[in-house]
Assembly symmetry: C2
Homo-oligomer: 367 residues x 2
């Protein structure tokens, strides 16, 4: 398997926001396009909870990335113009240091010895990564979902390091409905006896708990409207039915099952717990005492905030809140409300609606 | 403990809609007020998934009922005027025959030998119960949530047995978003090793699975808006914290925990599975081939349909759909959209908004 991943290793211990220190932090990242001589055309994409740094295909890794339609020649993040960087989040399991990594101090996986993680910590490693690439100031900083929280944290903590900001289906702070859903997802993983307080190995991964958590995730990532049109009350074929008393009978049930099975092999359960909790902990008001003072720290020249009406996990009012806070902070901000029906996942699947506003915004950014 | 429950026993085997037969079906019910000489003042309330027949207090059982503010002297269901009947659903566990009952044929609990249950079966036993009370025609038939589905089934199957119909936060058929949520709740119960394919006993009840299912239930029964105002990002007291790595930290997490603990002791897991599935199976279109022909079977003189904008489990468009279908069927129907913020549960807690439309509607019904 080809691999476009590059690795950056921090040359000093990383102290985390809520305490604890990580030695020899590694961050996996990929890049597309070329950094110009002025080092002024760099664009950083912060990911949502589950993706790797593989945002798009490249010569080194021709497999499709998770935002394939967004990055490349002639696409919104035009690689003829931009040096695009995407990194695997701190705490994740696709090459960056996380709970599944070996603790260099003990020689054992961190598991729950990994310190409590915040998205501010993720923003800090992003800044170190940019240092290593000799990029002081980003042309643009882009983040969907959890990546939007990371991007906002970055822009508050390092106000002179990004000229433009794009926040997509994100939130200035986690609210109790989303916290409740994520808390329950975590409890589903933790309730699987195979989780064993984080001490599973490759033969005893808590797949049942992860599958249940992913199903709940899928329910919150899409929308009732999409499923009504897509599945209605369609039944699965009798031949595909398990015949179990309460086994899947409706199409929507087998759709969830298929998606959940795909995810459980791919993501480490402890990493999932840490990143999920990090989203709950995020609150821009911690930067200065209020949301207004937090967002007031931003020094970007302009911002684009995109939201989707059918998203109930990161609802549109939270996108409007971010835009309003920016406006109050004197930032030239554009708020885009898209009519996508795919809920929170729209930014991954409804490219025809997402490309135009991002294209327009990036066209106005100077290299 | 005092008990106002009365019991009705069916004098013949009950054949269920999807096959199977139940012998000696018992239905627990309670009544308030007096049946008049014309037997024309009876009001039947069909319950949601989890309540018992104890809708309100009475001399025989002075404990508060689940709709205490709705039933009694001077209340919308004025017991000086109406003979109010409420029954525990077939398949439930508060006195009526269900999966937790002893199968008289084997002397053992039914468990998963209980036949697949539908809300039409629940409507059928309601009709037999009314026969036993010598009530041929109800003045009004009222149902919230699952009870609204049961009431609609009853009114389609027995068109000459109710003069007026009140449907609250219900649906003409289950749609995939609600099916997905209930399917996952059932899977949470079934994934608990203690469930053991339904073969638990009183010392091995799958409490963990039930607690998780109830938490998901609570998340779908309330609303993001309510919780935002009620909990915000409030943390629980340090002293109340378990100190666990991913244990409850936010108020909303301990609220869910408290509610879930209350439920798990009270409701039988197998009964929960059957009733939950029965809601998924409900589709008024099965009565005549389409929703229009199903609702076209109704012969009520008037109907009241109440919905809540913050309800995303039984969304307002589904209330409007019921009302529109009734209108097309030539029924004098009133659609009430309430601004309650408590989501699907509003009919249980936002009495100040629910009483007036029900009062007004019932005042216009002749005894």
């Amino acid at each position: 398997m080809t691999d476009a991943r590059q690795y950056f290793q921090l040359d000093h211990p990383l102290r985390l926001r809520h305490g604890g220190t990580l030695e020899r932090v590694t961050i996996a990242y990929e890049t597309w396009g070329e950094l110009n001589l002025d080092r002024s055309n760099a664009v950083l994409v912060c990911t949502g909870l589950s993706p790797s740094a593989h945002i798009a295909s490249s010569a080194a890794d021709p497999s499709a990335g998770w935002w394939e339609d967004m990055v490349g020649t002639g696409k919104p993040l035009d690689t003829d113009r931009w040096f695009v960087i995407c990194f695997n989040a701190l705490g994740s399991c696709f090459g960056s240091t996380g709970p599944a990594s070996i603790n260099p101090v003990t020689g054992e996986p961190y598991r729950l010895d990994f310190p409590m993680l915040t998205l501010e910590d993720n923003a800090t490693v992003a800044a170190h990564l940019l240092d290593s690439l000799h990029v002081h100031k980003l042309a643009a900083l882009i983040g969907p979902s959890m990546g939007g929280m990371t991007a906002l944290a970055f822009a508050m903590m390092f106000p002179d390091r990004a000229r433009h900001l794009v926040s997509i289906s994100s939130a200035a702070r986690a609210m109790p409905f989303a916290i409740a859903l994520r808390s329950l997802q975590r409890e589903l993983v933790r309730s699987d006896p195979d989780w064993n307080d984080g001490h599973y190995d490759s033969t005893t991964v808590p797949v049942s708990g992860m599958r249940l958590a992913r199903k709940l995730g899928m329910i919150t990532y899409r929308s009732a409207e999409e499923w009504r049109h897509r599945f209605g009350r369609e039944r699965i074929a009798q031949s595909a039915s398990s015949g179990e008393m309460f086994g899947p009978e409706f199409e929507v049930e087998s759709y969830l099952q298929a998606h959940a099975n795909k995810f459980t092999g791919a993501f480490d359960p402890n990493c999932y717990l840490y990143l999920s909790r990090a989203m709950d902990l995020f609150d821009a008001a911690e930067h200065g005492g209020s949301l207004a003072s937090g967002v007031g720290l931003l020094r970007v020249d302009s911002a684009l905030v995109i939201g989707v009406h059918s998203d109930f996990l990161f609802p549109f009012w939270q996108q409007k809140e971010i835009a309003d806070l920016m406006l109050t902070a004197g930032i030239d901000v554009t708020l885009e409300a898209l009519d996508s029906v795919q809920g929170h996942d729209s930014f991954l699947v409804d490219m025809d609606r997402f490309r135009p506003p991002l294209c327009e915004f990036m066209a106005a950014v100077s290299t």
